[in-house]
Symmetry: C2
Subunit: 240 residues, 2 copies
C-alpha cells in the first residue's frame, strides 16, 4: 500500500483566506510540495526523473473530502502515500489531520508521467515508482464524471488573461490557480456562509502564457459546476 | 537595536516563478509570517494586539536590495529585527542569506498600528513594542520618493478586478498581491532576461473587495515605475 511520509505544518497568514480558513489552492500546493519531499527522500526527485527519463510528474485529477478546513496558525499533520499504479496512472492519497489526530481533509489524486519534449503521457516505468512500494494494479480507477462543456451554454462566464505570476517552473499555469479562478466567480456572500464539502478537479489540457482562461459557472442546488476553456479544466464543488 | 529572530527556510515549488526564482510576493509574505512568529514568541501576537488595543499592524513601505533571488529548493536563513520606532512608525529589517551566510536579499520595512474600527493610524504604545527592545527615536526616516500619479498620464494601463482570492484575513487586498499586479504588466521577454536589483513599495490606501485596481506602468531606462489606483500603491523597480 506504499510507504507513508508525513510532516507537521502550521497554516501561515498568507495561505489563509478572508475567513481565516486555509485556501484550497494552498492546500493543493502544500500537498504537492510534501509529495515532492517524499520523492527526494526516496531518491526519486523531480530532477532525477528529468535527468533519467526526461519526464515530469503531472496531477490530472484530485478528489477532496473536507470535514473542516484548517485555519490560520493551526498546527496540522499532513501525510501522503502512493497507493497504487497501473500502466499509465499513479494514485496517491493525502490526509490533513488536526493536533488530536482528527481527519480534516482527505485528498485522492491521480498522476501521470509526461515527456518534457512531446508533452505526451508516457508509460509508468517500474524503475521510477519502485521505491514508493505502491501496489501495481491492472484496473483503472474510475474517474469522476463532470458536466460537459456543452451543458454550460449560456452559463455566467468570466475571462481571465494568463499572467506571468500564474506560471510555475513547468512553464504552464500552475494547477492550483484554476481553483481560485473557478471559485472567484462565486458570490462573496455565498463564500462567507458556505464551505466546500467535496471537490473534484480534472485537468485535461495545460494552458500556456499568452492564452486566456474563460471560466464558466453553473449552480445546481448546492453543487457548483465549473468549466474552464471548453473542458481544459473541470471542477465540481459540493458546498455545505 | 532590537532582538533578532531567525528561521531556516526551503523555497517550495509553489513560491518559485517560471524561472525557478523565489517570487517577490512570496518573499514579502514569508517575511511577514516570520515577523509574526517573532511577535508570538515575545508575547505580542496579532491576537494580543487586537484584544488589548483593537489595533492591527500594517506595513506601509518596503525597500528591497536584491543581490540574488533565492531559487527553488534552496535552503536559506531569514532573520528579522525591529530596529527602531518613533511616535507613529516602527522600522523592521529582514535579511535573506544563503547556506554559506552570503546576503541574498535585504528588506527595510515601515509599519504602523491601525485601529480596527476607524482604520486610522494610531500612536505607537510603548507597551506594545517594549518586548522587541528596539530603539525609540525622534526622527522620521525619510521615505522613498516616487513619481506622482500625474506623471503617468498616457502610460500603459491594465484594469484588475479585485477577487475573493486576493483578500486576506484583514478584509482587504493582501499587500503582496500589488507587486504581482504591477509586474504582470511587464513583457515576458524582459522578465526572462532581467532580475530586480532594488525595489521600493509604498502602500497609501487599502483596497477592498468590489473595487477594481487600475495599474499604470512607465519605464525610464532600466527602472519601471508603477502606480496603482492614483497613488494607492506606488512601486519602483530597478532591474539588472
Amino acid at each position: 500500500m506504499g510507504i507513508r511520509y508525513q510532516q507537521d505544518y502550521i497554516v501561515p497568514f498568507y495561505e489563509s483566506d478572508r475567513f481565516k480558513k486555509m485556501r484550497i489552492s494552498s492546500l493543493l500546493a502544500v500537498a504537492l510540495q510534501i509529495s515532492g519531499e517524499q520523492s527526494v527522500s526516496l531518491g526519486r526527485s523531480d530532477v532525477w526523473v528529468s535527468e533519467h527519463y526526461h519526464y515530469f510528474w503531472a496531477v490530472i485529477e484530485y478528489e477532496l473530502d473536507i470535514t473542516r478546513l484548517p485555519v490560520f496558525s493551526e498546527k496540522i499533520t499532513i501525510e501522503t502515500q502512493a497507493t497504487s499504479y497501473n500502466n499509465f496512472f499513479c494514485y496517491r492519497n493525502f490526509t490533513f489531520k488536526d493536533e488530536n489526530g482528527n481527519l480534516l481533509v482527505e485528498i485522492k489524486s491521480t498522476w501521470v508521467l509526461m515527456d518534457q519534449e512531446s508533452r505526451k503521457i508516457e508509460r509508468v516505468a517500474d524503475d521510477i515508482v519502485a521505491p514508493y512500494a505502491s501496489d501495481k494494479i491492472s484496473k483503472i480507477i474510475r474517474p469522476h464524471k463532470f458536466l460537459k462543456a456543452e451543458v454550460f451554454e449560456g452559463a455566467s462566464q468570466v475571462r481571465y488573461p494568463v499572467r506571468f505570476s500564474d506560471l510555475d517552473m513547468n512553464g504552464h499555469v500552475n494547477n492550483a490557480k484554476y481553483f481560485d479562478w473557478a471559485c472567484d466567480m462565486i458570490d462573496f456572500d455565498f463564500r462567507a456562509t458556505h464551505e466546500p464539502k467535496h471537490i473534484a478537479i480534472k485537468y485535461n489540457h495545460e494552458v500556456l502564457f499568452g492564452d486566456d482562461i474563460v471560466g464558466k459557472l453553473l449552480f445546481k442546488g448546492l453543487v457548483s459546476h465549473h468549466n474552464l476553456n471548453h473542458d481544459s479544466t473541470q471542477i465540481e464543488i459540493e458546498w455545505k
